[in-house]
């Protein structure tokens, strides 16, 4: 479950993807980078854009739109790469823009409704309603799991 602050709050980073806002826990995020040159890697899943040089560390970069099967669009000034901390290597997520850092009360997190804006339910951990905003809390591990992994390694 979410890592909660002492008073039952979760600190999240809110980012934009298509018309929706999503959130990732701050603890999972290493840094937020502007778009930069990414070297393509041949023969991998299309949503893996390639690798970038993040201060001397080779970091894989994923396009979150492609990962969720949303239509692609060109990267622009607002495009950001969220670099997530993983156990052995960091991973970058390309998003349309990083909007906010905020504390949300754990009580505001509600279970995912049946259908949310086209993103498959399995990647979602919950929905946060906050006054007039509504955003979706993502399940990092699920996003990183390659569904094809088993077939591939069986080759």
């Amino acid at each position: 479950m979410a890592v909660e602050t002492a008073d039952g709050y979760v600190k999240v980073i809110v980012f934009q993807l298509k018309d929706e806002e999503y959130a990732i826990e701050v603890n999972d995020v290493q840094s937020i980078e502007k778009m930069q040159t990414v070297t393509r890697i041949p023969g991998v899943e299309p949503y893996i854009i390639g690798v970038m040089n993040l201060r001397g560390i080779i970091t894989p970069v994923l396009d979150l739109r492609k990962r969720f099967g949303l239509e692609s669009r060109d990267y622009d000034e607002a495009t950001r790469i969220l670099v997530l901390k993983r156990d052995n290597s960091d991973i970058g997520f390309i998003v349309d823009g990083a909007n906010d850092v905020m504390d949300i009360a754990a009580s505001n997190i509600e279970p995912t409704p049946e259908v949310v804006g086209g993103v498959a339910e399995e990647y979602l951990r919950g929905v946060v309603k906050l006054e007039d905003r509504l955003f979706t809390l993502l399940h990092i591990d699920k996003i990183l799991n390659k569904p094809e992994e088993k077939q591939r390694s069986g080759m």
């Binding site: 040159t37 070297t39 393509r40 890697i41 041949p42 023969g43 991998v44 893996i48 390639g50 690798v51 970038m52 040089n53 001397g56 560390i57 080779i58 970091t59 894989p60 993983r86 052995n88 290597s89 991973i91 990183l144 591939r152 390694s153």
Partner: protein, 694 residues
Amino acid sequence: MMGQSEYLEVFIDESQEHLQTLNDHLMQLEKAPEDISIVGEIFRSAHTLKGMGATMGFEDLAHLTHNLENVLDLIRHEQMSVTSHVMDVVFESVDDLEEMITDIAGGGDGSRDVNETVQKLEALQNKDQEKAAASETAAAAVDSPQKPMQEQTAVQESYDEYERTVLKQSYEQGYNPYKIEITLDEQTMLKAARVYMIFDVLEQVGDIIKSTPPADDLEDENFEFSFVITVISSVEQEELKQRVLKVSEITNVSVEVVNVEEPVPEAESTSPSNAEEPAESAPAKKDEQKESAKSDKSEKHSGGSKKGSELNKTIRVNIDRLDVLMNLFEELVIDRGRLEQISSELNNNELSETVERMSRISGDLQEIILNMRMMPVDQVFNRFPRMVRSLSKELGKNVNLEISGAETELDRTIIDEIGDPLVHLIRNSIDHGIEQPDVREAAGKPAQGNVHLSAYHSGNNVFIEIEDDGNGIDKEKVIKKSLENGVVNEEDLEKMNDQQIFGLMFASGFSTAQEITDISGRGVGLDVVRNTFETLGGNITVNSVYGEGSLFSVQLPLTLSIIDVMLVEIGKEKYGVPLTAIVETAIVNKNEVYSAHAQKVIDFRGNVIPLVFLNEIFEVPDRESAKGNEYYSLVIVSKGDKIAGLVVDSLIGQHDVVLKSLGSYLSNVFAISGATILGDGQVALILDSNALIK
């Protein structure tokens, strides 16, 4: 315990060294049970372990080593003979010690139930004490003549022909040759200083012809308490004695006049050839005595690990620091690339000279840093003799492990990784390869099976081979099993040669063991082994003749991190091809390319070699620039005896780059072994040309 944490690391390091020494020497002892000098070494290691364990508060460890020491002591004094049973118990206790040290290294308190082993050790002692009591008189009889003999040898002095001549001449010139035996007080702290003072005193009144032990040994305190000096002097015998006695901490001085005619009294009466004998045998005895004096001494100083003369000038450096150094240097290499690029763009003479110099220096630095990380594979190999011993006992097989090339060096990172897979391969050879002794004999082989573990350098690679003269691999069984498990289909199988078929054993979910034994065949199969070697940038092949044995050959890169690559461009993308794989580069006209079986080939120096179009394999976009070109740029690469030509758009040049992994998320990208950061900060992928050659 808390306050000792800083010593803990040292303790663990040293204990592991001592354990290794124990193991090595025990193995030696088992081969040569009558060689008591080995027991001395073993005893010393055990003794040091005991001391260290007790100091650090590891009671069980100290308790066990204490008992082990007792047994070793009996062996050392020839009151117990080295039987197979004794060796088993001793090995068992060393195993216990290892467990404890491993536990301590893993943050445990090193406690372990050692009662059983201790009881076995005690049983050994008791049994032998009875025997010892019975043979005590015999032992005493053996002991007693030794002692007076040693005392005698201490006074004896012999002179070679040259020395005799000198003595004789000085005698003729009116000097007296004296032989002085000096015994220092046992409490003497600075023996060398006393020796120096005595020499000084004697040199004031005469010339020193000879000393036994030699002056060097005396200075290094390589003697017990007495030594003999021969001087020629004009002073009287008594005066000489008094002068020497003025030096403090001397318990006894005896001065004798050397009879210069006498040394060869028998020589004149018997044949001349015998004349050498007394002169020769005496020094031999001296040597023995010196030896024992030496070993006694180092025993007392057993805290110091080796005999003084062998001490290497080394320091211990935490491997983490070396890793940090390496990482920093990698950064430097990247910046160096950047600087080289800038300086070639700016075209300023002074700048390019400075950059060139810097590149050269950092090149030297690179070599030193890489060398610093090199370790002999012995680090890994040295645990195998023990393993083979216990394994063959367990399986009731008779196996001889032969090791060669243990001094071959590899990067520390690689050394750390190859231990487990090699263990697996050796276990495999013994479990599945070597047959039971009776089966071997029936097959006309010697009952003892041979496993030969060897390491050697070749180019930028190190090869490690494990060869056994066992049963070999049954090809039919491999084929059957692979088909059963769906590792391969019949169609592919038909195209395979023997080596490729044996290679199927490395596919996941493969095991040819007929019965699941405790040794191998637990599911974690050869696929894991292959994976480990491949992650390290190496590979493994196997060859076998059924009935005669098998050979597993592992190829590993010398070092992991900095490699020489040829940078090539395909479309707008840059790739690095490791120089180790490149035979040469070439440019060929498109009309020299032929088609054979839908495969583009060229005639290259009389060989037909296939072309691999990287732009197709890597699905490179934006390749308009290359289209109009009527030439192909080729990088000819080899894998074993097979070669292929990689077609690229242009060759950029040769670079030293830092190989970085793509990370676990991107493991198993086809034909890509890693990436590197170029001088301009861009990431270039490094090709794994082995994957491209079929």
